[in-house]
Every structure is written in structure tokens, then in C-alpha cells.
């Protein structure tokens, strides 16, 4: 059995459809319209021990819901999951001692107390032996370079410093599985980079299994060998990050530098002109046409330099999200059967 195993996992919510305005609010006291939101619609996934997997997807795709299901915070509507052999939503203490969840948008440290006090509390909650606790805390504070901040009230820390403390709190009990939900959200580039560096190092040394959701493609590119793209509660892609580009991008970007200061006027026939600042030109060309286009260009013009590149990953992913939400838009019109119910 895989380390993490998910079969047909589903989660639906019933959401009160609130209409705008006071009158509608009054009506809503007696008669409410509900809509079923299918946050996760049948996910199958297997993750092996020591993998670092990224969940990519637009807002509301079901990434966070999946992590919450795997952490046992909520129970599924259907389907099953096993993490290290445990059913997460049974919430056994044995399971809860062996994983951690970090949410970039929620904090668990005592706001008015120094982080050191919250860490002590964690030591007792997780029953960590004092020697292990001191060693782990020492290592983590060194790695994240926050030794001097341990005795400062959490409310006086910067967002980046606080995130580091949250990570330490989550890692004190040396979890074997780590769920990270947007751990770098709202951080500046340097802080983001520091957290990435730390996570990469930590995962390499400890061989923990990590599932990460993030909106920052840089996080994903820096950390994960495997990417799972989720949209509208379903898995659209599962494989390497480079594979996303191969699979979903239909074009490549051709950069040409012509001799002299002139740009030929007949470039439109080869592909879409993205940028033209003489003597340089960027063309968007269909992948399958590349050899033909290159040959024709080189034959017809004097070209000093040429490069063929994949489009930026962000762009591919963004296109993918747009496509999938358009598809889902068609589908959800059917799903959007509004349930009427009085209350």
C-alpha cells in the first residue's frame, strides 16, 4: 500500500445563497436557497514515502479541502483515504502525532506570548522528550535563523518571521508527513526564498513526505519533483513540472535577431508576433511547425541569433486554469441545480 492513498475522495458543501439587500435578507430568514458546492469531486492519488508533491490549481479548486481531508479536520462526503495506514478523519492520537499541517493564512501560536512558550506547550501536547525537544528546536532555529526572536511576543514579529515560527511549531514533533497550505503567502521575495531553501533542505535531510499547495510557481519549481494540477475538484494532471509544459503548451516562443536594423514585414505568416523591437523579434509558433518555420526563416533572411523556448510556466498554468474553468463552467450549469428548502 502506498504511503498516502486516496480513492474516489469527495467533499460537498451546502451553501446558503444570500441575495443582496435588506429585503432579501429578511426573506432569507424564512426561505433559503442552497447551492451544493462540490469542492472535491472524486480524487484518486497515491504518494510514496519521501515524495515532495505540489498541488496546483486556481482558487477554489479543492486543494485546501483535500489537505483538510487528509489532516482529518473535516470528513469526506464519499471515498476513502489512508495516510500511513490511518484513516485521517478518525483522528486517532497515533496518527495526529505523526503529521503536521501548516496553513499560511491561519496561525496557531499564542499571539501575545513569545514563540518559545508556544513551543513548550507543543512539547507537552506531543509528549516530546526534553533532549529531543532541545535538539530539534536548536536545529530548526539555526536553520531558519530566528534564535534571537524566540523570546519576543509573536504579535511583534514580521509576517515572514512569524511564518518561520509557525513552521518550527509544526516540525517540533518531527512529523513524517507534512501538509503545507500556501506557506509563503503574503511574504516578500526574500522571505519566500528563505522558506523555500529551508523546506528543500529539511526534506532532503529528513526524507519527510510533503504535500504543498501554493500559488507561487517559484515555490513549486524550486521544491517539487511532482506536480498535481487540480481544477474544479478533479485531477487534471499528475507528473513532472516540465511535463506540464510539454503536455499543455501548444506553442513555443521563437526569438530572432536579424542582421541590420530592419525587420522583415512578412513575419505574420510564420506565427503570432509577440514583440518586435528592431532588430529583435519574438514569435509565438505552433510546436509542430517549429522545424518548418525555422528552415523557411533561415533560408529567406540573414539571421544573427536564434533561440527556441517554452513559454513561461506561469503562462501555461494560467491557460490551463482558464481552459479547465471554462469546461467546468459548462458542466456546473448542469450541476447547479438549486435546492430549495425552508428553514
Amino acid at each position: 500500500m502506498a504511503f498516502i492513498e486516496i480513492r474516489g475522495l469527495q467533499k460537498s458543501y451546502r451553501v446558503y445563497q444570500k441575495q443582496e439587500g435588506l429585503l432579501a435578507s429578511l426573506t432569507g430568514l424564512f426561505h433559503r436557497e442552497y447551492r451544493n458546492v462540490h469542492a472535491v469531486q472524486g480524487i484518486d492519488l497515491e504518494v510514496e514515502k519521501g515524495e515532495f508533491v505540489a498541488f496546483l490549481g486556481p482558487n477554489g479548486a479543492g486543494k485546501t479541502t483535500t489537505l483538510k481531508l487528509l489532516s482529518g479536520v473535516i470528513s469526506p462526503s464519499a471515498g476513502e483515504a489512508r495516510v500511513m495506514g490511518f484513516v485521517p478523519w478518525e483522528r486517532t492520537n497515533e496518527y495526529r502525532r505523526r503529521f503536521a499541517l501548516v496553513m499560511g493564512q491561519k496561525n496557531q501560536l499564542w499571539w501575545d506570548l513569545p514563540a518559545a512558550e508556544s513551543f513548550r506547550l507543543h512539547q507537552q501536547i506531543y509528549a516530546i522528550a526534553p533532549t529531543d525537544f532541545d535538539r530539534t528546536l536548536g536545529e530548526l532555529t539555526d536553520l531558519l535563523d530566528v534564535g534571537k526572536l524566540l523570546n519576543q511576543p509573536v504579535r511583534e514579529l514580521s509576517l515572514g518571521e512569524r511564518m518561520k515560527m509557525e513552521l518550527i511549531a509544526a516540525l517540533l514533533h518531527s512529523p513524517e508527513v507534512l501538509f503545507l497550505d500556501e506557506p509563503t503567502i503574503g511574504l516578500d521575495v526574500i522571505a519566500q526564498h528563505n522558506i523555500q531553501k529551508f523546506l528543500k533542505h529539511y526534506q532532503e535531510v529528513r526524507r519527510v513526505t510533503i504535500l504543498l499547495t501554493s500559488h507561487y510557481m517559484k515555490d513549486v519549481a524550486a521544491l517539487c519533483q511532482r506536480v498535481v494540477v487540480i481544477a474544479e475538484g478533479q485531477i487534471m494532471y499528475d507528473g513532472s513540472l516540465a511535463g506540464v509544459v510539454d503536455r499543455f503548451s501548444t506553442h513555443k516562443v521563437l526569438t530572432l535577431q536579424f542582421a541590420g536594423d530592419q525587420i522583415p514585414s512578412d513575419l505574420d505568416q510564420y506565427g503570432e508576433l509577440i514583440e518586435a523591437v528592431a532588430p529583435k523579434v519574438k514569435l509565438r509558433v505552433d510546436r509542430t511547425e517549429i522545424p518548418k518555420v525555422l528552415a523557411a526563416l533561415l533560408a529567406g533572411h540573414t539571421i544573427e541569433d536564434v533561440s527556441v523556448e517554452d513559454p513561461p510556466l506561469e503562462e501555461v498554468i494560467a491557460d490551463l486554469f482558464v481552459q479547465s474553468s471554462e469546461q467546468a463552467g459548462k458542466k456546473s450549469k448542469e450541476v447547479l441545480a438549486v435546492g430549495h428548502s425552508g428553514r
Partner: protein, 274 residues
């Protein structure tokens, strides 16, 4: 570390962290203590005034009634100090999704949510209650008291605290179903309003006795203070044994019910958006 030692230790750390936090805002801390004590002093003053007009309220004379007030203060300070801030926070945790982190911890979730914040300033009243009780007992004629009453008194205070805790926690747990339930303070006011008088006053007419029946047997808040207070203020009488026995049953049933309600409510926890 032994399992049964873990929870007392955790409680100690919760209490310690809360005290550190309260001390950080020391002016606020002192004002809270003083206003709590002031409120109880005004209550006491009111009854001293009442007793200047009458010798007894339905069989409770002045010093017996002081025992009753001291008992009220003991129980209220314990409930407000230990459980009130947690019950209030639970509603907030549900609304903001902060309950997620509590559910991740490998300890009993109800224990954690019930005791992680302690409001030390409310416990100030506990000491005032001690002084009041000592003063009342000095003036009270204790002939006919059975020695066991002095041991049963703290036991029944504990029962009273646990009953109020159960009612309060069950109510707070409903916020998991409702998404939000901030009626706790109001509720606390209504309940303590009923429970802080001797149950004898709910006699006589049909309204009084039906209130008495409901708040003794359905929501057992009347016995919370009445049973321990009588235990310390008057000699034991066989006709009150049934009430004392019922108080134990009510404590156990309330605790079990609160746990059941909490577990049921958790099943429908949705976790607010992140």
C-alpha cells in the same frame, strides 16, 4: 511520561501561559480583578440591605445566606475563570476556522478547547468568597452539623462547576452547527440569575414550582448552588438527601451529554475558508 500525568501537566502549562499573558497587560488585569470584586461587593451590600428589613428569606437567615453568596462566588469564579473564556473562544474559532489547529493535536479535543485559556482575574473572587465564608461561619451556629458536611461541601461545589461547565460547553458546541453563536454571555446571565437564589423562593404558586421543576430536573442549574450552599449553611436533613443524590446523577449526565453533543457537532464541522 504517564498518560494520566500528561493532562494535569498540560493544564498547568495552559494556566501558566495564561497568567504570563494576563500579566503582560497588567493594568487591564488589575482593573478586571477590581471590577469583579466590586460587582460582588455590590451584590453583598444589596443583601445586607435586604436583611436590615427582614430576619430571613424563606428560611435562610443572614449568615446562612452569606454562606449561600460565598458558594455562588466560589462556583461563578471557577466557571468564569476556567471555562468562560474558552467557551466564548470556541464560537470564534468555528467562525474563523481556527478550530482546525485544535483538531490536529494528539490530545483530547474537548479537554484542549475547554481549558486552554484561563482567566486569572475572575479567580480573584474565589479568595473573596473564602473570606466571606470564613466570616459567615464564625457567626453561624453550627450545632447539629455532621463532620461529613465539611467534606461534601467542596465536592458539591465541584459538581456545581461541572454542571454549569457542561451546559455552557454544550451551548458553545452548537456554534459548530450554527456557524456562529454569540449568545453565551446573555445565556450566562439568564442562568446565573435563576441559580443565585435559594430554591425555596420558587415555591407557592404554579409559576414558581414549574420554574423550580424545570431548572432542577431539565436544565439542572438550581441545584448547582443550592445543594452545596445548604450543605455548609444548615444541618443535614433526610428530606434533602434525594436532592444531594440527584446532584451527583445530574453531574454525570450533564458531562456525558456535553461530550456527546460536542462529538456530534464536530462531525458537521466545515472549517472556514483558509
Amino acid at each position: 511520561m504517564h498518560n494520566f500525568l500528561r493532562y494535569p501537566r498540560l493544564f498547568y502549562t495552559f494556566a501558566r501561559n495564561s497568567l504570563i499573558r494576563d500579566m503582560t497587560f497588567r493594568a487591564n488585569f488589575l482593573i478586571e480583578i477590581l471590577s469583579n470584586i466590586g460587582w460582588m461587593a455590590m451584590n453583598l451590600g444589596f443583601y445586607i440591605l435586604v436583611f436590615s428589613y427582614t430576619k430571613s428569606i424563606e428560611g435562610w437567615d443572614q449568615y446562612e445566606f452569606f454562606v449561600f453568596i460565598a458558594t455562588t462566588m466560589f462556583i461563578n469564579s471557577l466557571v468564569q475563570g476556567l471555562f468562560m473564556p474558552n467557551a466564548q473562544e470556541l464560537s470564534e474559532l468555528v467562525r474563523t476556522g481556527g478550530l482546525d489547529y485544535a483538531l490536529l493535536k494528539p490530545i483530547d479535543t474537548q479537554f484542549m478547547l475547554s481549558l486552554r485559556r484561563i482567566n486569572w482575574s475572575s479567580l480573584g473572587n474565589f479568595f473573596v468568597a473564602g473570606i466571606l465564608l470564613a466570616y459567615a461561619l464564625q457567626h453561624l451556629d453550627q450545632t447539629g452539623f455532621h463532620p461529613v458536611q465539611y467534606f461534601l461541601y467542596p465536592f458539591y461545589i465541584l459538581c456545581g462547576v461541572l454542571i454549569l461547565y457542561s451546559v455552557m460547553f454544550s451551548l458553545a458546541a452548537t456554534s459548530i452547527w450554527l456557524g456562529r453563536n454569540q449568545s453565551l454571555y446573555d445565556f450566562w446571565f439568564y442562568i446565573t440569575n435563576f441559580s443565585r437564589y435559594p430554591m425555596e423562593i420558587y415555591g407557592g404558586n404554579a409559576l414558581g414550582s414549574s420554574l423550580r421543576t424545570i431548572f432542577t430536573f431539565v436544565i439542572p442549574v438550581l441545584i448547582v448552588i443550592n445543594v452545596p450552599a445548604r450543605m455548609m449553611a444548615m444541618p443535614m436533613k433526610p428530606e434533602y438527601n434525594y436532592l444531594a443524590t440527584f446532584a451527583i446523577v445530574a453531574t454525570v449526565v450533564s458531562l456525558v451529554a456535553s461530550r456527546w453533543i460536542f462529538k456530534r457537532a464536530l462531525e458537521s464541522y466545515r472549517s472556514a475558508s483558509s
